[in-house]
C-alpha cells in the first residue's frame, strides 16, 4: 500500500500543475517564407507513387486523392477514387472543408508536379495540414506503376523488390501490357486502368 501512496503523493500535484497551466500554443498559424522554403527544400510534401498505389489497393480510407487539373482532364482520366479540385478553384469556399482538416491525408496530383505543388504551397501557406503531393505526378505514375522497367541484373535487391511491388501493383491497378503499348498517357489507353480496378485485388497483402 505504501508505494501507491508515494506515487499518488508525487503524481497528483504534477497533474494539478499541468491541468492549471495554459497549453503551449506559441506555434505561428502561418508559415514564414523561410519555413515554407525549408519544407519545399526537404521535399517532405512528396508521397511516393508506391505508397499511393499500396493505399489504393488496400482501400485505405485515410487518404484522399485530389486531381488539381482541369475538369476536362479529370473526366478523361483520373486515379481511382480521386476527386477534382481544379487549382483555379482552390480557394473556393466549397472546398475549404476538404482542404483544411486533420482527418485525412490529401494527396494532390497533376500531370507533372508543378500544378500539384502550386496547390500544396497555397494550402500550406494558409496553415492547412495534411496536404501532400504525388511524387512525379501522373507521368511518373505511368512509368513507375503501370509500366515499370526491369532493373539491371547488377542492381541491389531493393531495386528488385521495388520492381516486383510495382509490377504487381500495376497489374492490380489495371496497368501492364494494355498501357505499355501506347503509354504517352493518351486518354484512350488510360481508360482500362480505371475500369479494371474492381476486378483486381491480388496484392492486398503488401505489408
Amino acid at each position: 500500500m505504501k508505494p501507491l501512496k508515494l506515487l499518488a503523493l508525487f503524481i497528483v500535484p504534477m497533474g494539478l500543475i499541468i491541468a492549471a497551466v495554459p497549453q503551449n500554443k506559441t506555434k505561428p498559424y502561418k508559415l514564414t517564407a523561410d519555413q515554407l522554403l525549408g519544407e519545399a527544400n526537404t521535399r517532405t510534401q512528396y508521397i511516393a507513387p508506391e505508397a499511393v498505389a499500396d493505399m489504393i489497393i488496400k482501400k485505405d480510407p485515410s487518404f484522399r486523392l485530389i486531381d488539381v487539373r482541369s475538369q476536362d482532364d479529370f473526366e478523361k482520366f483520373s486515379l481511382p477514387g480521386a476527386i477534382n479540385i481544379p487549382v483555379s478553384d482552390l480557394l473556393s469556399d466549397k472546398y475549404a472543408d476538404i482542404l483544411n482538416q486533420d482527418v485525412k491525408m490529401n494527396i494532390f496530383y497533376s500531370n507533372g508536379t508543378i500544378t500539384a505543388n502550386e496547390a500544396w504551397m497555397v494550402t500550406r501557406q494558409l496553415g492547412y495540414k495534411n496536404n501532400f503531393v504525388l511524387e512525379g505526378g501522373l507521368n511518373y505514375w505511368f512509368d513507375a506503376i503501370l509500366d515499370p522497367k526491369k532493373p539491371a541484373s547488377t542492381s541491389p535487391d531493393e531495386e528488385f523488390a521495388k520492381y516486383d511491388f510495382r509490377l504487381s501493383a500495376g497489374k492490380a491497378l489495371g496497368g501492364g501490357l494494355t498501357v505499355q503499348t501506347n503509354q504517352n498517357q493518351s486518354t484512350e489507353s488510360s481508360k482500362p486502368a480505371v475500369q479494371a480496378v474492381p476486378k483486381k485485388k491480388k496484392v492486398s497483402g503488401g505489408c
Binding site: M14, I18, N24, S62
Partner: protein
Amino acid sequence: MGPLSVNELISENTNLFLAFIIGIGFGFVLEQSGFSSSRKLAGVFYGYDTVVLKVFFTAAITAMLGLLFFSLFGWIDLSLVYINPTYLTSAIVGGIIMGAGFIIGGYCPGTSFCGASIGKLDALVFIGGLFIGVLIFGLGYNLWDGMYMAKFLGSPKISQTLGLSDGVFAFLLIIIALSMFWVAEWAEKKFPREEY
C-alpha cells in the same frame, strides 16, 4: 529513435541496431519483473495479481506527464508527435480478440517471446498461435478488408473529443489510474492465490 532517424542523423541500419539494443533491454526488464509468467499476466483478469495493470498504467501516465511538461517548457512540439490513426471498428474487434487471447493464453505478443526465450513451452505454443493468426489474417485479407478499414476517424485525441484541455484530461486520467490501482490492490487481497 524517432528524431534521429527521421532527420537522417543516423542511418537506417544504426537505427535497427539501436532498436535491437533497446529490445534486449526491454525483454530483460520484462523477464526480471516476472512478466514471462503466464499466470502473472492472466492474474489481472482474475484479480489475484495486478502488477501488469499497475506497471503499464504507471508507464502511460509518466510518459503523458513528461510529454505535457516538455511541451509546456517548449522542448517538444506536440503537434509533430505521431498519433496512431483510429479505425474504430478494427480497434474494437482487435481489442476483443487481443483481450480474449490474453486471458486464454496468458501472454501478450511481447511477453510470449520473453517467455519463449527462457524456454517456456506454453509461450512457444502461444507464438505458434500468433503466427497462425497472422497467416489467417493475411491470407483472408479480402474477406475483412472492409471491416479492417471501417470507421476511420483520423487521429483524434480523447481530450479533443471531450472538449477538455490536454492538461485537465491528464489530471482526470491520473485520478482514474490511481483509483484503479487502489481497486486492484483491494482485489489482490480479496482474491488471493496461494499455490504459485
